[in-house]
């Protein structure tokens, strides 16, 4: 008898909790992410939906290709991502550097998915130029393949 009462109590609590949380969700107490516009190009290398869903896969494969096989300057180059999506923010480095961290953090903090890319990769680039990794040939290739359409 006591066990049944306890079970009933827990179930009730669960139902009430669910109700409260769904009511909260309707009022959108957590703001949806609003991504800042990239400073170069009109579109990303992939359509937005595809990018949102798959960017982690692209990055995972690209990093292996770059480090292990020495392939650089392809479509999913991380440097290229940073170069387009890093925006200047007066709060960060007095606006002297562009940084991609807020761009990634916008969605990642909403989804509560921790990334450790920036433990090693510098999220900041100088205001004007791309980083000095790429030879002109490679930058041109990115341009041709439509990466910065």
């Amino acid at each position: 008898m006591r066990q049944q009462k306890y079970t009933l109590g827990v179930l009730l609590l669960a139902v009430v909790g669910f109700a409260i949380s769904s009511v909260q969700a309707k009022h959108e107490t957590v703001p949806l992410p609003h991504l800042s516009k990239a400073i170069k190009g009109e579109e990303c290398v992939e359509p937005n939906d595809t990018m949102r869903r798959n960017h982690m896969t692209y990055l995972m494969h690209q990093r292996d290709e770059t480090v292990i096989e020495g392939i650089r300057g392809k479509k999913y180059s991380l440097q290229a991502c940073i170069d387009c999506h890093a925006t200047a923010d007066p709060k960060i480095e007095n606006g002297k550097m562009r940084t991609v961290k807020p761009f990634c953090a916008e969605c990642h903090s909403y989804a509560a998915v921790k990334i450790d890319c920036f433990d090693c990769h510098n999220p900041s680039v100088p205001l004007e130029k791309t980083t000095n990794t790429f030879h002109e040939i490679i930058t041109a290739h990115i341009r041709e393949s439509g990466a910065s359409k």
Binding site: G70, D119, I137
Partner: protein, 244 residues
């Protein structure tokens, strides 16, 4: 008239010699051909260094400074845990007291013991012979550091900020000389090589393709006998030394 002709001949010869020197100097500086975007490193190439340590002296460490600047590693005033990708080693003959100085870095062996022992395969050898740490998969176990006969590797003991964009590095992973892959992939030479020739004016370090018999480094290697460190271990390092 004869004197003028002689002068002209001298001028022409001199120009020829000068251009040959400059041409070979250019070849010395840029032996690497830039790879195209999307092109993988090839095993037809094997990058190596030739260090003529007779040109080194204990007071010069331009190569070390250049590596630090290029790759963004620096001292935290904690010598035992600070990173060190390349260092000058000063030798002293125990019996005679004669001294010598030379730079030591990752020897980019053909049979690297560090690659053998890495449990995740993070310590790897690229197809073109460069031995690297894939920091994405490095778990920081430091076994490779134990295995390296040259103490070439160091562990990042603290948080890192302000990394060079072309050289990501972070706490908890192991690192060592990368032979400046970010430079050689686009046709430049490693930072130490360039600094030694331009800043130090010694040109003690030559970089090039060991597999290409017409590369400068291959020609130098066939001209004079060179040694490799701990060659008795059979690791076939890619770094050759003269003067040791």
């Amino acid at each position: 008239m004869t004197i003028d002709t002689k002068k002209r001949e001298l001028l022409v010869k001199g120009a020829a010699v000068a251009s040959m020197t400059i041409a070979s100097g250019v070849m010395l500086i840029a032996p690497a051909i830039a790879r195209k975007a999307g092109e993988a490193a090839s095993d037809k190439v094997r990058w190596g260094l030739l260090i003529d340590s007779n040109k080194c002296d204990a007071g010069c460490d331009e190569c070390v400074v250049a590596c630090k600047t290029e790759n963004g590693w620096k001292s935290h005033d904690r010598p035992s845990t600070d990173p060190q990708w390349i260092r000058k080693v000063n030798l002293r003959d125990k019996k005679t007291g004669a001294t010598h100085s030379l730079p030591v870095m990752c020897q980019h062996c053909e049979n690297p013991p560090c690659v053998d022992v890495c449990p995740t395969g993070a310590s790897m050898q690229r197809a073109d012979g460069v031995v690297l740490v894939n920091r994405h998969t490095c778990i920081g176990c430091r076994y490779c550091m134990l295995a390296c006969p040259y103490k070439a590797r160091s562990f990042v003991h603290e948080d890192v900020t302000g990394q060079k964009p072309h050289m990501p590095r972070g706490k908890g992973t192991v690192e060592s000389c990368t032979l400046c892959v970010h430079r050689i992939d686009i046709g430049r030479t490693p930072a130490c090589v360039e600094a030694c020739s331009s800043k130090a004016g010694r040109s003690a370090i030559t970089f090039g393709d060991l597999n290409n018999p017409s590369s400068n480094i291959a020609k130098e290697l066939s001209r004079y006998v060179t040694t490799r460190l701990r060659s008795d271990l059979g690791l076939e390092p890619g770094v050759h030394y003269r003067g040791v």
